[in-house]
């Protein structure tokens, strides 16, 4: 972009009109299903422990305090929405801004719009059906296909990702063309994520949306483990035309297990030389009150718009991009 028109929006007016229409369509979709729209704070006293996320920090100068308070811009509205669920909200959804530092590119802007929703009484399979219904309504897609993480690796990488040893996984990664990373990386999940990004995602969902299900337990994030098979978690990701669109869980309800996962994140942070993050106590307190059995999913709204408009870059769906925000 030449300097003289740097002030111009990065989306066309037509694209902004489509965006507004889809927002209205999404609100209609949830109104019909009696899911309550909510708003939760974007500024929070606590942040996430996830090793691969970095929150923006800012400082609050309270008019009645001489001390500034550190606040974080939310990386997703998950914890606040779960506190509402613990307080008895019933099924809820939110269309909100989320912020992630160090993320910018064709599919990333550090400030983006997330559509996140929770369905009380649903498991992840029922929620996948609802994501499918939403995609069919907004994008007119063919019915979604379910593929397990294990099937995807066997199909595109020719090995079984569950129960694999580090040495064997390094060998496979090297065979598949990533020798440098294979030799220096000792975290199995990083190697699996590399192969998933480079070899599976681009091929997986060209014809129809795909829900990749049964992620390894080590990548459970905030999902319940599968009671029948503790190697896998009740976590899914939805892709369409190679784009990662949504991530969902049959939500973990055990506060002790939740706390342990946060603590493990912090241990992993320490081993990588990253700062540890203060665990969100208000969230853990709410979990002790009791999270109703529910499934939840976060869907990148700007990416949904990329698919709707067949845009090649995310800034074509937003009024202004980080480069000219």
């Amino acid at each position: 972009m030449a300097d003289f028109d740097a002030w111009q929006p990065t989306a066309s007016m037509d694209s902004l009109r489509t965006r507004a229409q889809v927002m209205a369509q999404v609100r209609g979709f949830f109104a019909l299903r009696n899911v309550l729209e909510v708003e939760t704070p974007m500024l929070s006293q606590a942040s996430v422990t996830d090793v691969n996320l970095r929150a923006f920090e800012t400082r609050f100068s309270h008019p009645q305090s001489s001390q500034e308070q550190v606040l974080y811009l939310q990386t997703s509205p998950e914890f606040a929405m779960k506190r509402l669920l613990c307080a008895g909200s019933g099924s809820i959804y939110q269309l909100s801004k989320a912020f992630r530092n160090e993320e910018a590119g064709r599919f990333h802007n550090p400030e983006f719009t997330m559509l996140e929703w929770y369905r009380v009484g649903f498991d992840h399979w029922q929620l996948i059906d609802e994501v499918d219904a939403l995609l069919q309504e907004v994008l007119d897609t063919p019915p979604l296909e379910i593929v397990t993480y294990q099937q995807a690796f066997i199909r595109y990488c020719d090995f079984d990702p569950l129960d694999i040893s580090l040495a064997h996984l390094q060998q496979q990664t090297s065979r598949l063309g990533f020798n440098d990373i294979a030799q220096s990386e000792t975290n199995k999940d990083v190697l699996l994520q590399l192969l998933c990004c480079e070899l599976i995602e681009p091929q997986l969902s060209q014809e129809r949306p795909v829900a990749l299900v049964n992620f390894p337990a080590s990548q459970a994030a905030l999902a319940k483990l599968e009671p029948e098979d503790p190697r896998i978690a009740r976590r899914f990701e939805v892709y369409y035309k190679g784009i990662e669109l949504a991530n969902g869980y049959h939500e973990l309800g055990d506060p002790q297990e939740q706390l342990t996962r946060f603590e493990n994140d912090n241990l992993l942070r320490q081993s990588k030389g990253l700062p540890t993050i203060t665990i969100d106590n208000l969230f853990i307190q709410a979990m002790h009150q009791g999270l109703p059995d529910c499934a939840g999913v976060a869907l990148g709204f700007d990416r949904l718009m990329m698919l709707k408009r067949q845009s090649s870059r995310i800034e074509q769906t937003m009024s202004f991009f980080i480069d000219n925000a």
Partner: protein, 189 residues
């Protein structure tokens, strides 16, 4: 040489890969919502000329390559080496056949070429975008024909073969675009 992290990989950065200096062409950020970030980098190897894609973990770093471009005049070929000179310092540099490669057919005495040096040694020679060369051989064309009918092949003084319009004759000097290898016009002389 300094090390560069993936977030410094801009187009044009010169880095070392598998012992060969490379030019970064593109750098794409890839990150799963839950998981490690990667950079998918498109690279041109400067000696073999091969273009390839390589994935790094975001934050990985690699050694920079001591590569610089310098503009020098082409002097002559002694049968083995191609000699170039800096017109201000009169310092001379000899490039071998491998460094000159296919561009040998565009080397015109006294033309200014860009020589790419790696650790001080020439690894590539880029001719000017336009060179003027005499036609040494072409079929006599039809009188009165103007450009646009496909033309005919013409051999130039350096051995290069380009398509020229039918009206251009042996002995004439023509201007050629070295990037596409296409005839531009008769030389203005």
């Amino acid at each position: 040489m300094a090390n560069y992290s993936t977030n410094e990989f801009k187009a044009g950065l010169k880095i070392m890969l598998d012992g060969e200096p490379c030019n970064v062409l593109e750098n794409e950020y890839v990150k799963p919502g839950k998981g490690q970030a990667f950079n998918r980098v498109k690279i041109r190897k400067l000696i073999s000329g091969k273009v390839l894609e390589k994935t790094f973990r975001s934050g990985d770093s690699v050694e920079g390559a001591d590569v610089m471009d310098t503009d020098l005049s082409y002097l002559y070929n002694d049968g083995e080496f191609y000699h170039f000179m800096n017109n201000e310092t009169f310092e001379q540099i000899a490039a071998d056949e491998k460094a000159v490669g296919e561009n040998v057919k565009w080397l015109v005495e006294n033309d200014t070429c860009t020589i790419t040096l790696w650790n001080g040694s020439p690894i590539a020679v880029t001719p000017p975008n336009f060179v003027e060369l005499e036609i040494t051989e072409t079929d006599p064309g039809l009188k009165g024909d103007t450009a646009g009918t496909g033309g005919k092949p013409a051999t130039l003084a350096t051995g290069a073969v380009v398509r020229v319009p039918l009206f251009v004759q042996t002995g004439e000097v023509v201007k050629v675009d070295t990037r596409s290898g296409e005839y531009v016009s008769r030389a203005q002389k």
